[in-house]
């Protein structure tokens, strides 16, 4: 989660506006929940500058997200907006808010485990148990490391038999 220090009234207003923009691929989360918005500031001439970062380098939703931000802020009264695309520091699932993780689970996507657990480089490494978002069982297995979008893997629950997406640690 990002620390918002000494936030001005205008900045807070922009953050609240951004919190209402859903991620195009996982609409249950806002782009703020996902940690895609890294920074909000106001330039000398009173225009907002928003720093965003892609989850994966090839994330096809980034152009869409940029358009959504411009439209939302235009409706909030900011015609001119500077968007800064930051590569560094690299996005990580650690930036996902706790509230975001809870929302993901309710939506039926298993939220990312904490970082140290799954990022093992060894071949055939057993991923740590991922909890089924439906029945909460840890008796699950990985069907494929790659799922419906770059950020997800495909799992199935041995207990309730439901297949589900896992938002993989990154």
């Amino acid at each position: 989660m990002i620390k918002r220090e000494t936030e001005t009234g205008a900045e807070a207003k922009i953050w609240s506006a951004l919190e209402t923009i859903p991620d195009p691929e996982i609409p249950v989360l806002s782009i703020v929940d996902l940690g895609i918005v890294r920074k909000v500031s106001i330039t000398e001439n009173g225009e907002p500058a928003i720093t965003i970062t892609a989850t994966y380098t090839g994330c096809p939703a980034m152009d869409m997200i940029a358009i959504e931000i411009r439209m939302k802020l235009a409706a909030t009264g900011y015609k001119q907006v500077t968007l800064i695309n930051a590569i560094s520091p690299a996005w990580t699932t650690d930036w996902m808010s706790e509230e975001g993780k809870q929302k993901l689970k309710e939506y039926g996507i298993a939220p990312p485990n904490s970082k140290q657990q799954v990022c093992d480089q060894n071949l055939f490494a057993e991923a740590d148990a991922v909890q089924c978002p439906q029945c909460n069982s840890y008796n699950t297995y990985r069907i494929s490391e790659f799922g419906s979008t770059a950020c997800k893997a495909l799992y199935q629950c041995n207990n309730c038999k439901e297949p589900f997406d896992y938002f993989k640690c990154h």
């Binding site: 994966y56 590569i87 560094s88 990022c119 480089q121 790659f146 799922g147």
Partner: protein, 262 residues
């Protein structure tokens, strides 16, 4: 100096883009749905990485062309160099990708092997770029890409083992793929003139790559070829006949309608 740096970045970008384009040909044709999705996910990562690199190269080129009027102006219909002009409007001779990545697809085993050989090279090279960090933009791109590359190395390595140590048929095909692709791996460690500026440590890169590849081949009960003639030239723009056809398809729209958007 700066020309060398942009050439090096273009070499990384071109290799990544061209492999992405080749893998993209599998979309809808993978052996099973999950693996079709896997290879196209990897394609998306490769093209994303290529975009970051082209954007950086374009920025450097535009800075230089501001300084010197003699610099060749960007192509007709474009005000300045961009990721699009670099990907869509350079000719075959200007592309600096490895010969390995432009080779046509044959079976799934060959695609898996190529991905494994390439991703393992990428993994160790990008580690160097990230750790050295003298070029902060390149280090940042390397760091971000490494998260994705780690998945690629693991996924493709597991498949090399599954197929090599699988049925008689899958083993035969993997052995054939090695015979076909190994002659293109020498180029991964043959320094190009522009690589001096990037301070790539080939004395470390090659043994690290070789150890990883040998370990996986061993576990896959596959043999590492010995004394093979190596094809070279891709890094400096001398390509096999296959690249021209790829670019014809890749660049068609921008060549026909310069600057078109949709």
């Amino acid at each position: 100096m700066s020309k060398h740096l942009t050439d090096f970045i273009l070499h990384l970008a071109d290799s990544t883009l061209i492999l992405g384009q080749r893998n993209g040909e599998w979309c809808g044709h993978g052996p099973v749905l999950e693996q079709d999705i896997a290879i196209t996910n990897i394609t998306l990562d490769l093209i994303g990485q290529a975009r970051s690199l082209y954007q950086y190269a374009a920025k450097l080129i535009n800075e230089v062309s501001k300084l010197s009027e003699s610099e060749v102006p960007p192509a007709e219909g474009f005000k300045a160099a961009s990721e699009d002009t670099l990907a869509y409007l350079r000719t075959e001779r200007e592309f600096k990708n490895f010969l390995l990545v432009e080779q046509p697809n044959s079976d799934w085993g060959q695609t898996i092997l190529r991905q494994f050989l390439f991703s393992t090279w990428q993994y160790y090279l990008y580690q160097q770029l990230k750790e050295k960090g003298s070029d902060t933009t390149l280090a940042a791109i390397a760091e971000k890409s490494l998260k994705e590359i780690s998945y690629h190395v693991r996924w493709s390595g597991e498949w090399v083992i599954r197929l090599g140590d699988g049925t008689a048929e899958s083993k035969k095909r993997m052995a054939h793929a090695i015979q076909e692709l190994w002659p293109y791996t020498g180029e991964l460690f043959l320094p190009a003139p522009y690589e001096k500026v990037a301070e790539v440590d080939f004395d470390k890169l090659k043994p690290a790559w070789f150890k990883k590849v040998s370990d996986v081949f061993n576990e896959a009960t596959l043999l590492v070829p010995q004394h093979v003639y190596m094809h070279t030239g891709g890094k400096t723009g001398t390509h096999t006949e296959h690249l021209g056809y790829m670019l014809a398809e890749l660049q068609y729209m921008q060549r026909s309608f310069p600057g078109c958007e949709w």
